[in-house]
Symmetry: C2
Subunit: 324 residues, 2 copies
């Protein structure tokens, strides 16, 4: 009896977890850059030796695919080719939907099903490297919208994250000393650089590429931040770069607070369950809003929390198999 | 007697013009992606056969360079290696400055010197694929700030352009039908896609890369615009994609109007000289602001207008040589 392996295949990262939470991996696999998904999954199969595989995905949105359906087909085929054990795909209404489009961006719904069974009614908020899902859970199930577009328009998908978000897209201007300066919209620095500058993360947690491909140490992060105002670091000084970083963090915190408040009000839920590498950040937003908050890591441990959709889909398959 | 060739070496494009405006070229040469500057310049040397070369640059800001000085050194060396005729570099206070940092982002100052001698006091506005320079000219010379950082903080450099600007950085939300939808900050679509969608440009004028590397026709531009709200085109329809495009254009127009108005008020100039591929767009902004406006293409022709800093530096060298 091998383990049941859950996979969450995103555009930038592929995450894996066994249903007992003992096997956990996160692999940086940028699909839009032609990463070898099948090859990496084969290597993963060798390491994990699963008896069954359960899959959720969001990577179909990556712009290497013409549209979502071709993305879904290509990703599904890669998984089937990589594993020689039964593979099941979770869609927004359960495993192996008749219409494959239901597999699109269904990772949040797997997480929601697990959270609902564990915590009951709540606002489930999962902040990753790139995006933040806000999933209202009422009556034991997700009442979130079905597509990314609808979730975006209803504030259930906040396209901001802890690491990959471009600094130039977060703020129109920053205050540096006495100057108010416009930011370049170029991909010069990311949220991870702001967090490195502030000492909120260490280099090993900077798990995405740096925008310029240069090292990810704090000195280079400060340089990248200076570049967002078309400056060398000497021109604005370390304090200038730190000022940019603080404003990035504040902006993301206020985006998150506004989004949580809107969902809490609209859905009349006052309990937040926080997940993902941004769970402490979510907890901070919830505290500021005077909402009760539990971090998934308190219940499941840090590792499982960081790959929660993968863990959740593995658990869902385990339960489905036990029930059948 | 060969021609005097002016070069304007930017991070994304290298432009060339002879001092008589008869030889004009624009080459897409993305330095940050390791484009072969020396090789391309050698080929250009063969085509143009100049007797002298005059250079301005902004490419030193490209994030393939550690800092501006290393960018300047690398670009200067590439030019010297590519041409076996005398090469002179224009800095913000004239040719061949003793401090090479004066070469940084000096292309606007070459343009300004030429415009000042032709038009007198004015606000010179040059909108390219990526950025827009707003250069107040008073008493026959540019009174703009000296570095990109200072220009950015004083509204003399507007980091928005006709083609390369990321849609996700321009607008926090868009209105699509009855829905107000947040935009993804990913590099999914650019201003050129908005202009293709609206029929403002044709495919041959889409001279930058498409964000996804897919074709630049209108159908693909519409798909890319849909992706900025995490949708397939069917999900929001062509009218949805066009709505995004219109809001991008309106946003850029209002950014431009605000920037022109601020400079006109602060410097007490009421005459705009418009240049670059965005000169019609600048003229529209000026008309909306009830400011008199002349397009460079009316005076110099379309081709020279599109590569104006290269033309200007060639003219400056011609005059400097004639005067010496």
């Amino acid at each position: 009896m091998g383990l049941i392996l859950g996979l969450d295949i995103g555009g930038a990262n592929t995450k894996a977890s066994s249903s007992n939470g003992r096997f956990v991996e996160s692999i940086y696999l940028p699909l839009w850059r032609g990463a070898d998904l099948k090859g990496e999954l084969r290597a993963l199969a060798t390491r994990a030796k699963p008896c069954k595989v359960a899959v959720v995905m969001t990577g179909e949105l990556a712009d290497c695919f013409e549209d979502k359906l071709s993305g879904i087909k290509s990703i599904s085929q890669a998984v089937r080719d990589a594993f020689d054990v039964p593979v099941r795909f979770w869609g927004i209404s359960g495993f192996d939907p008749s219409d494959p489009i239901e597999l699109a961006a269904a990772n949040y719904s797997a997480s929601a099903a697990e959270v609902a069974s564990e915590f009951g009614d709540c606002l489930f908020v999962d902040m990753g490297s790139t995006t933040t899902d806000l999933i209202p859970i009422k009556g034991g199930r997700s009442v979130a919208s079905s597509t990314d577009f609808k979730r975006l328009s209803r504030g259930e998908l906040l396209y901001t994250g802890m690491l990959r978000t471009s600094v130039g897209s977060l703020l129109p201007t920053v205050q540096i000393g006495e100057l108010r300066v416009s930011l370049s919209p170029e991909f010069f620095a990311v949220a991870a650089d702001a967090r490195m500058a502030l000492g909120d993360i260490v280099e090993s947690e900077y798990t995405c590429d740096s925008p310029d491909g240069a090292p990810k140490d704090r000195a280079h992060s400060l340089q990248r931040l200076a570049r967002t105002v078309c400056a060398d670091l000497e021109e604005i000084g370390e304090e200038g770069a730190i000022a940019i970083a603080e404003q990035v963090k504040q902006r993301q915190l206020s985006m998150l607070m506004m989004a949580i408040e809107e969902q809490a009000r609209r859905r009349d839920v006052h309990f937040v369950v926080a997940a993902g590498i941004g769970e402490d950040f979510i907890a901070l937003a919830a505290i500021n809003l005077r909402l009760r908050c539990v971090r998934l890591s308190e219940r499941y441990g840090k590792q499982v929390s960081a790959v929660f959709p993968a863990y959740a889909v593995a658990r869902l398959l385990e339960r489905a198999e036990a029930g059948s």
